[in-house]
């Protein structure tokens, strides 16, 4: 093993140049879409009919449910979306009583929030998950390797997995009916069927105005908060409610998009592979010096301990 200074720099230089050329602009994380679609869920309007679950099941061709969508006892248990259901409605009794002293229920529809800066898309090793211009967080199964890092990353615990498929399992989550909303006038299955207009589909900016208007016109009915406006950098799905969100299973998440820290560290360290190239040069220098000073001699480390 012989190392000359010239030979070393020749190879190190070539490696560095090749590495730099192979990455055009690695630091550019794609910015969130300017004018995405979204949905506003008005929890004061939801009556828990689960028609949205039914429609979702139908338009996405999901397997039939264990118990029919008309069965009200399903609501006795809090559920999570899974690989067989992209959306579920849960019933909460936050404590208010009606005129006849009955607890008033609040129903909460859960699905993928379609974050503006999705952690799953940042995490995905192959870019199978991407944030589209129309607001969808889209899953491309042809790229997926099934590492499930998206599931680790998602702050809302949304992506589910076909754990019982041995060879071709898929990540399963709300598609925001990508195909349907890509067509002029198309609505997501759930928003289209909702009999009480609890789900409003539209441009996210417009929906924020709608939400503020509803809250402003009826401050006694609504809390002055839009869940999803700022959460994890903003989400395409947003909620307004009469009941504090904490009582309805919504979790506290930071306003900063959750993948930001990891991305910043990663890009600071590895943009244009500067740190590995510097380290390579440094180690090469050490190796070259040590070879020059000590040609293959056994040193006396053992006696110096």
């Amino acid at each position: 093993m012989k190392l000359t200074r010239r030979g070393f720099f020749k190879i190190a230089g070539a490696t560095g140049a090749a590495a730099a050329a192979s990455r055009s602009d690695p630091a550019a994380a794609s910015p969130p879409p300017e004018d995405p679609y979204g949905c506003l869920v008005d929890l004061t309007r939801c009556i828990g009919c689960r028609k949205c679950e039914d429609a979702c099941n139908r338009v996405n061709g999901l397997p039939p449910p264990e118990r029919p969508f008309e069965d009200p006892t399903v609501l006795n248990r809090l559920r999570r979306p899974d690989e067989r259901a992209f959306t579920v409605v849960n019933r909460y009794f936050p404590g208010q009583l009606d005129a006849s002293n009955q607890l008033v229920p609040t129903f909460v529809k859960i699905q993928c929030m379609h974050c503006q800066e999705p952690a799953c898309a940042s995490a995905c090793i192959v870019g199978a998950l991407t944030k589209k211009e129309n607001g969808t967080v889209h899953y491309d199964v042809t790229r997926c390797i099934g590492c499930r890092y998206c599931m680790v990353a998602c702050p809302f615990e949304i992506p589910a997995y076909e754990y019982h498929d041995p060879i071709t399992p898929r990540v399963m989550k709300c598609t925001f009916c990508f195909e349907r909303i890509s067509k002029e006038g198309g609505l997501p299955g759930c928003a289209e069927i909702c009999p009480t207009e609890a789900i409003t589909f539209g441009r996210r900016k417009t929906l924020l105005e709608v939400a503020r208007k509803r809250i402003g016109e009826n401050p006694a009915r609504y809390l002055d908060r839009i869940y999803g406006e700022k959460e994890v950098g903003g989400t395409s799905w947003m909620y307004i409610s009469a009941v504090p969100f904490e009582k309805l299973g919504f979790i506290d998440v930071p306003d900063k998009p959750t993948p930001k820290l990891a991305e910043t560290i990663q890009h600071t360290l590895f943009s244009y592979l500067w740190s590995p190239i510097v380290l390579y040069g440094l180690l090469g220098g050490i190796m070259w010096t040590s070879r020059k000073n000590r040609p293959e001699s056994e040193d006396e480390e053992g006696d110096r301990r």
């Binding site: 390797i145 399992p169 930071p254 390579y280």
Partner: protein
């Protein structure tokens, strides 16, 4: 001290090896079950808990405990301390096998094993996992290349394939000769690349969980997690060499190589000390010590990791008597290895608490069988290779009859 690795040529099927074979068979059965019934059939993984034992032990710990490979290569070949040459080959073999089994573990863990090549084509530079995968892939190749001279040394000029394969002897000899001539001149490229790639992905493994700030317990979630992973990997490198060398030399009835191991662990005092200082400093700066005595499983796991895995063995290694005593040194190094193992399990499994569903997780029997099976296979192959290739150089122990 003469350094001369040689194939041991000892009896292979000892009772210990038979036990390994049994564990391998059990693991193989679980692997078959996984590829028939799916991951869900053999594991307790769920929507809330997508990563478990396999990622925590097979992948994260596998990578960390293979750190002996690049740390000894750095010491002996880059800094030029040839005194430590006798441990470089065994550490290299462990790293090569370790990374091979990281990839095998991944093939079992990822849902679409057949698609494992896709990150080579579809790149996501935002993904920490992408960088880790690329580094692991390149490093695994570097390790195989670094191991080629061992094979060359054994077979060059001695190719003697049985029966009809004898016709290939000439071709094999040509290849071995070619490898011998070329590799000697360019090996330095791979040695440095191995260290660089290791530093990159050892640290990035720590960045993996930074993507989930709301899920990882604050005792572990820190912006310097990648630095902690890098320093702990560097710190565990030499203790891992002591651990495996002591196990191998005891099991194979060889000399304990204490002349090399003792000075090696003197360096560990500084390396582990640095990790300890960073870890405690981080805790103080972020004020997370308030969680220490909460008494939950999570905080107790942190205390165990820090006290038994870092502080106590560090104090032990401060004493020269410990460093010179085979048993005491083995005990200290085992604790350090266990500490890093526990740290990786903690970061990837214990610290992870899904905030919505708050589901708990304990690995299923199938998961444990597969992990144990993989580790057994690794040890089995290690034993096979040191029996037939010049890896170890410790002379046989004098046995009083």
């Amino acid at each position: 001290m003469t350094h001369h690795p040689y194939p041991l040529k000892t009896r292979f099927w000892t009772p210990g090896v038979v036990v390994l074979a049994v564990l391998m068979a059990a693991g193989a059965a679980a692997v078959v079950a996984r590829f028939i019934g799916g991951i869900g059939y053999v594991s307790n993984l769920s929507t809330a808990r997508p990563w478990g034992l396999w990622i925590g032990v097979d992948v994260a710990s596998g990578v960390a405990l293979a750190a002996g490979g690049f740390t000894t290569a750095f010491l002996a070949h880059i800094v030029g301390r040839h005194y430590f040459e006798p441990v470089v080959r065994p550490a290299l073999l462990t790293a090569m096998l370790g990374y091979t089994f990281v990839v095998l573990g991944l093939l079992i863990d990822i849902g679409r094993s057949w698609a494992i090549w896709k990150p080579m084509i579809f790149w996501n530079f935002n993904s920490v996992l992408f960088e880790v995968a690329m580094c692991v892939m390149f490093y695994l190749n570097v390790l195989y290349i670094e191991f080629v001279p061992v094979v060359v040394e054994q077979f060059k000029g001695r190719m003697n394939l049985p029966g009809p394969l004898a016709a290939l002897n000439g071709l094999a000899e040509t290849l071995l000769g070619l490898a011998d001539r070329i590799l000697g001149k360019i090996m330095w490229i791979f040695i440095i690349a191995g260290v660089v790639l290791s530093c990159m992905h050892q640290s990035s493994l720590g960045s993996l969980m930074l993507v989930a700030p709301t899920k990882v317990h604050p005792l572990w979630y820190t912006p310097i997690l990648p630095l902690l992973f890098l320093t702990s990997a560097i710190a565990v490198g030499y203790p891992m060499v002591v651990f495996e060398t002591t196990l191998a030399t005891t099991s194979l009835k060889l000399d304990g190589e204490m002349r090399v191991l003792s000075p090696l662990t003197r360096l560990t005092v500084y390396l582990l000390g640095l990790y300890m200082a960073l870890k405690i400093g981080d805790m103080v700066v972020r004020g997370t010590y308030v969680h220490l005595l909460e008494g939950t499983a999570q905080t107790n796991a942190f205390l165990a990791e820090m006290i038994l895995g870092v502080i106590v063995p560090w104090l032990m290694l401060l004493s020269e008597r410990v460093r010179r005593n085979r048993r005491a040194l083995f005990a200290a190094c085992t604790m350090i290895v266990g500490g890093v193992l526990l740290n990786r399990i903690n970061v990837f499994v214990v610290a992870y608490k899904p905030p919505v569903s708050e589901s708990s997780y304990f690995p299923a029997v199938g998961e444990i069988l597969i992990t144990v099976g993989l580790i057994s296979t690794l040890m089995f192959i290690y034993r096979f290779l040191v029996t037939h290739l010049p890896v170890l150089s410790a002379p046989a122990r004098e046995v009083s009859s």
